[in-house]
Structure formats: C-alpha cells, structure tokens
Symmetry: C2
Subunit: 347 residues, 2 copies
C-alpha cells in the first residue's frame, strides 16, 4: 500500500495519470528549435540537454566559459491570471515569459525550462493541452527545451512554477548593481500596455479578444535585446519591468546605491484599443507585467534607436542623490514612490 | 497604479512584504557550509554561487568538466504534508529532501536550491521561520546554498516548489536506463518506515513526536552513498525510492528494457515504534517517501556491506524477461505490480 492509496493522500482522480502527462509533455517538448532560432556556429540548444524528462534529474551542459543563470516564477490562478479572462494558451505563454524575461535581463541565453504544474481534479485535458501549446510555442521560438518538472493534483486552482536556465559568458551577466551617477536610463518598447488591458478586463468583466491585446496576453520577452546590450558591453545595469517601472527602477537604485530622475515626457507609453490610444502616465509608471527591459548606460556611449525592431528610449539619468524623482514636462520634480506589483503587501 | 493595487490581484495582505521575506531567506541562506561538509581540495559550494538572491537570476558556476543536474519537486499542503501532523521544520526538511534525493540518485553533488513558496494570507510568521529553519539546517548539512526562488500569496494552503541543482562529472550521471540482465539489485538502508509512520498518523489521527519517527519526519537523503557508488563506477542504474520500491523498480526496468526478480525475504524492513517492530512486507514493497537508493550492479562486482554507516543490501536481480516478480521465502513467484505513490491516479 503506497501513500497514493491512503485516504488523506487519496485525492488523485485526475485528467491523466502523472506518467502519461509527463510523457505527453516530453513528447511535446522534443520538438527541435526552428531553423530561424539557430544562428550559425552556435550549439543547438537541444544538444545542451543531455538527459531530459524521465530520470531523477535532467542533465544539462553549460557551454564552456559560461556561467549558469537560474530563475523561478510562480503563475498562480487568481494571483497571476484568471481562467475566465485568460485563454489557456495565454497562461502557458505568460508563465514562460516570466522566466525568459529574467534571463533577458541578465543579458543571457535561455537553454531549458522546467515546469511544475499542479492541476485541480476536474480540469479538462483540453485545457492542459492548450496551456502546453502556448508554453511550447514560445519555447520553440526561443530555442528552449522543456527538460523536466513535476506534476501534482492541486487542492484548488491551477498552480504553475516555471524554472528557466540560461547561460552567459563568465563574469558578463548584467546585474542590477552596476548603475553609476551620470548613467543614462533606457527602456525597450513601450510601457503600461499590459496594465491597461487588465483595467479593461476589470471594468468590462468579460473576455477580450487576446490577439487584439498581445501586450497583455502574449508579451514578447526581450531576449535578443538583452543579449545584444550585454554583448556590446552597453548596459551597466539591467532589470526587466515585471513589477512596474517605479518599482523596478527602485530595485536598480537600491542595489547600485544611487538615485535617479525620470522625465515624464520621455516615457514611451503603449497604445491600446481601437483606435489605439496612449495609456495614462500612471500606468506607464506603475503598471507591471510589461516585460520590457530597463537598463543604464555610461554617459557618452551611443545607444541605437532600436534593436531587432524594438525601439530603445532614453527616459532619465542616474543621480548621486539616493532618491527617485519624476520630472514633469513643466520641470516640476516629485518623488517617484515604488508602487507597482508587490506580493505580500501590507494593507 | 500597478497590478498589485487592482482588485482581483489585491490579495496580498500577508505576514511579510515579499522583499523582506526574500531578504530574510537570503540572510538565512548566507550561512557557510559546515567544515565537516567540505572535503579537502573541493571547491566550497558557496563559491559556486556567484550571485544569489536579489537579482533577476541567480548566477552559478558549474565546475569544469562537470554537467549540471536539475530537479524540481512540489510540496503541497494536503498532498505531501498536513499542517496538523507535520511540524514546520519537518515540512521544510522534507521539501528539500525530495530534491537532494534526486541529486543523490544520479550520483551527483548538490550545489544550490531555489525555493518557490506561496503562503496563505493568515499564516503566522513563526510558521515560516520554523519551515525555513528545517530547510536551511538540512541545506547546511549538505553544503547547499539557497540561491533564489519566488514568493506569492496562495489562494489556499501552503505551496512549495523546490529546485535543486547539482553537478556530476561529464557523462558519469547514473541513469535509470543502465540496468542489464544479470545485474544484482541493491537498496540502501531499510524500507517502509515512512509509510508505517503515515499509517500511525492516519489511525491515531493525532500528532506523533517527530524525533521518535525520523524516517518519516526527517529522512536523510543518501547523497554520500549515491556519490560513492558513482565514483567507484559501481552502480549501472540508480533511482531514489520516493514512490515505493515496486513503482521505482518498475521505472528502472522500463527505462532499461529489462525485468527483475526481488526476493521477499531479503528486503530490509524498517523498524518503527516502541519497542521497535519491523514493518509489514507490503509497506516495504509499496510505501513511498523512503528516500533510500535503489541501484543495480554488474555481476561479479563486490559491493560493500555499508557506505558511510548506511547498510547496503542485495534484494534481487535483473532479468531478461520483462516482468517484475516477487519470490517468496518458500520460492513462490508472483507478479509485483507497481502500486506505490502516483499522482493523478484514475479511480
């Protein structure tokens, strides 16, 4: 008699036996990266995974002269997504984006992902298939192998935890702590789009067509941009905007022991809706979930206006004074408090 | 206005702000490995973690000539533990054991752990502290650095996902697929102890003194034994017994394309209770959660009777015929069905 057959643990009547779910995930992830994701002379990512799903551990090879990057992120129903608003493909996509974006923020190259997935008893298999489809399509785009994970029955709600491993040339990871007074502050893309869509979801309390609102449902992690900024030695510090510009800029300032001023007028705001309208400044400042990169550059270095089609915008500068300020169009200075997404917030 | 302040996501009134939980975990994990865990000439494990908690990713160094091992395991309230039966230290300990045991089963060396922890709104901080204490004490014993993770509020129940990274000399990981007909089958330690304690918990429906039942509350992962077996080139295949002997032996047989026969009389059974009594054969065969190692050895190789104080016992042999059989003391043969722990069981 195993643990699985004793009463308190006997809660495992589920869509699929664990092993067939694992093998299904395994089969799905065996897809090779698309030709487009492989650059000449680069080791195919799949050959870095020596043993994937089906043993006690996955076995991976880190390229010679490289360090390993590791990031883990929860995606919990009711916290990070809602089943009634987010199609399963979007949830799977967004689950992996969180990890890829962290790798991008170090200037790294993603190698493999590990998915721990706990599912409620009555979830249709179709939901799992669509979730995996969303996750694996993004994985394929970025040449990432799904190399393992864990499955369990969830007491309530869908619980996913994604681990992404990446690599970066030794001592070249771009940290949050490298900003210095005088550095310019840049962002990729445009901000506030995802939060604006979330506001629409809340106010209308119904589904939105996901393809019309990709900033929220299918954000693109800035892996190529992060890698290029690191390879060119351009970024002195970097972070991805997952919690909101105000919060993430504060992380950089705290870790670097500096302050910053941000020019309200310069912040690129996302456009949302039909016809597209730029989002409110507040959303661009504090809306999380954008997955754009925020980085600093030493003064005098020339920064391209776009990288791989994504605009790069200067929005402020790092200061010696340890405070983060917002400068209005008229020149008024106000303190920019971190007020983006933070779990475990005291109320 | 960030995602954290919009209503459906605004569920974050919790014991501690996320960042202070992270920094508390960070401080706690900064403890160096004890002198005893460092062998002469081996790189201190902490120096393999270049950047830990506090950036987008952790940065790790994998020793030259080594491959990386990765394993992830859920520990979910009501599935893997019960708050009313398991003290927080035991839950933290067992959470990490699951990962360390997987590293042991590859013959690897653990390097770092990553903890994703979602906690219900009203959980006392004291619970979290005691959970972390149990986890970090075990980490320290094995020279493992807690290098990152994620935190969130859980809709219900405590949800933990542990990732353990390890290393193993290139191409030397001991897989499940290496067993060949004629190989002898061995186990470390004794089986069924954890499941017997679980039975006691179910039948008495009250707490048991954890220190008197360490097999269940504080199992020891067989890292030293797994490493020694790999280093001596002794194990042709290996797995840890987390799901029960019958299930885990089946994994080895399936992955190796072989069968096995197990001698009922030879199986070392744990002793539980006061006075200690050997557990029923059924528990030794199918009870999961033992975290002993199950491995195979080519015929003719001499296997020590113990490694680092843990007994090693021969319990059967690998057969060409693809069936797993149990041979009774009287010589009767019966089919040994895998009936240990399996999530997602059809009922």
């Amino acid at each position: 008699m195993g643990l699985g057959t004793t009463s308190a643990y006997d809660v495992f009547a589920l869509p699929l036996p664990e092993r067939s779910l694992i093998s299904r995930i395994g089969v799905a992830s065996a897809n090779r990266p698309t030709a487009g994701s492989l650059k000449a002379g680069r080791l195919p990512r799949t050959s870095r995974v020596v043993t994937g799903i089906g043993d006690d551990c996955a076995v991976l090879r880190v390229p010679t002269g490289h360090e390993l990057l590791v990031t883990t992120d929860f995606s919990l129903e009711g916290v990070h997504f809602r089943r009634e608003w987010h199609p399963p493909e979007s949830i799977g996509h967004r689950c992996l984006v969180r990890g890829l974006s962290d790798i991008a923020a170090m200037g790294g190259e993603p190698i493999a992902a590990f998915l721990s997935l706990a599912l409620p008893r009555k979830l249709p298999q179709r939901w799992v298939d669509r979730f995996m489809k969303g996750l694996l399509e993004l994985a394929r785009q970025f040449g990432v192998t799904l190399a393992g994970g864990d499955t369990a029955q969830s007491p309530t709600g869908i619980l996913a935890d994604i681990v992404v491993l990446g690599s970066v040339p030794k001592s070249k990871a771009v940290l949050r702590s490298g900003a210095r007074p005088g550095d310019r502050i840049y962002v990729t893309g445009a901000l506030g789009g995802s939060a604006a869509v979330l506001n629409l979801l809340f106010s209308r309390r119904k589904k939105l067509p996901p393809k019309r609102f990709p900033a929220h449902f299918f954000p693109v992690p800035r892996v190529q941009q992060g890698r290029a900024l690191r390879a060119k030695g351009m970024a002195s510090s970097m972070i991805d905007i997952s919690d909101g510009l105000s919060t993430d800029l504060n992380h950089i300032c705290e870790e670097s022991g500096v302050g910053a001023e941000i020019w309200a007028d310069a912040i690129p705001r996302a456009s949302v809706g039909r016809p597209p309208k730029p989002v409110e400044l507040d959303l661009a400042l504090h809306g999380g979930d954008d997955y754009e990169l925020l980085f600093t550059v030493r003064p005098g270095l020339r920064v391209p206006s776009q990288i791989s089609g994504v605009p790069i915008t200067c929005i402020g500068k790092i200061t010696r004074r340890k405070q983060v300020s917002l400068i209005s169009k008229a020149g008024a200075r106000s303190r920019l408090e971190p007020s983006g997404w933070e779990h475990f917030r005291h109320q």
